[in-house]
């Protein structure tokens, strides 16, 4: 345990010269900052998180931010809320995490509550139905662009496309549940990427 602490520390210390605030951040401050992100982050949270936490507040440095993001992406949960948990924990432990996640969720939740009530009573108006058809189609394009972006960023080999295809077939064609798909395809993919002696070669593939 103590060994791992010493290996983590140098990374954190690099943050000092990029201007990481050393004074303790208050819980209220954390809540407010995440509330602002939650209320303004139209069109995707990650750029807003970086702008606020790295550039403006210096609560995490860029390297740490990327590490936290990669953990957020590998775990269940949305990037936005996982990042809130990680940054909150780094700043003030459990309470920091709770303040951050409530802050980032609150504005959107209130907004969608109101939208839900409105849509339920007025959703069948002709012009709303027409607009929603366009909105849904645009959302499909948006998700596809996320898929392309993630593929460019996080895939490490051509063979990964086989695992993508297997996953899609398992869920959409064979109607397998996500846990079962994860267990089978995920395990295969992890075994395929098993640790090898020549790590550099497999990374360059």
């Amino acid at each position: 345990m103590s060994e791992s602490v010493t290996t983590v520390k140098p990374i954190l210390q690099q943050g000092v010269d990029t201007g990481i605030a050393s004074a303790e951040v208050s819980i209220g401050r954390i809540f407010l900052e995440f509330l602002i992100i939650g209320a303004t982050s139209f069109g995707g949270v990650v750029p807003y998180l970086r702008g606020s936490l790295v550039t403006k507040r210096h609560w995490v440095d860029d390297k740490e931010f990327v590490e936290m993001l990669s953990i957020s992406q590998s775990l269940p949960g949305l990037n936005a809320t996982n990042m809130a948990i990680l940054v909150g924990d780094k700043l003030r432990g459990v309470l920091g995490s709770i303040a951050a996640i409530i802050g980032i969720c609150l504005p959107g939740a209130v907004m969608m509550y109101v939208v839900g009530v409105f849509y339920r009573s007025h959703g069948d108006h002709v012009w709303i139905t027409a607009a929603l058809k366009g909105v849904a189609a645009a959302a499909v394009g948006l998700i596809l662009s996320t898929v392309v972006g993630l593929s460019q960023k996080s895939l490490t080999g051509k063979f990964d496309f086989v695992f993508i295809a297997l996953t899609v077939v398992a869920v959409n064609r064979l109607h397998q549940s996500v846990p079962r798909t994860l267990l089978v395809v995920g395990l295969l993919a992890i075994l395929f990427h098993r640790p090898r002696k020549k790590q550099k070669e497999s990374a360059a593939l």
């Binding site: 949960g77 948990i85 366009g134 959302a139 993630l150 593929s151 895939l155 695992f163 996953t167």
Partner: protein, 175 residues
């Protein structure tokens, strides 16, 4: 009549499927909320999800609306806690362990292996949604247009979704 326990159960389960993004849970969200519990229809689910893309914050806040429909204010709160609580706890614990696993040689393997599977889950969610959202030349053109614009330019996606609404009104309003 009381839907709260069912809401909590369903959304706690769905939250654990959101690997790589909220869309990963979409196929099972459709099965559970539409087919099994009939809290809303498939077009309504698609509409709520899509409108949710224009709201700020985490992009699955449309679940609040489902909770509200099925169980009122209490339902909305139950769904929020169920959907964000378990993964928050998991992330909190695993992230602390993750740092200690820095030297574990399988750590990179897990990350590299989960990457294509999580992308596959997103794509599967996208296809499920496309089955309800793409139904002709206009909608296909909007989806492809948004995709190409986003790949080419740095533009706020929320604006494009809003643009989709305008095109929707122009092309689907009864004459």
């Amino acid at each position: 009549m009381n839907q709260i326990p069912a809401l909590a159960r369903v959304f706690a389960y769905l939250s654990l499927l959101t690997i790589g993004g909220g869309m990963a849970a979409f196929p099972e969200m459709k099965i559970l909320t539409v087919d099994v519990h009939k809290w809303l229809t498939f077009p309504q689910l698609i509409h709520l999800y899509s409108v949710g893309q224009m709201a700020p914050g985490p992009n699955m806040m449309m679940i609040v609306a489902i909770g509200q429909w099925a169980g009122g204010m209490l339902g909305a709160v139950a769904v929020l806690i169920a959907f964000f609580g378990p993964t928050a706890l998991l992330t909190f614990i695993v992230a602390r362990l993750w740092k200690k696993l820095e030297r574990w040689k399988w750590r990179t393997s897990v990350q590299q292996g989960l990457a294509p599977v999580s992308i596959g889950l997103l794509l599967a969610g996208c296809f499920t949604m496309a089955r309800g959202a793409i139904f002709g030349a206009e909608t296909a053109a909007i989806a492809v247009g948004v995709l190409l614009i986003l790949l080419q330019y740095k533009i706020n996606p929320a604006l494009l979704v809003l643009g989709g609404a305008v095109i929707g009104v122009l092309s689907f309003m009864p004459k």
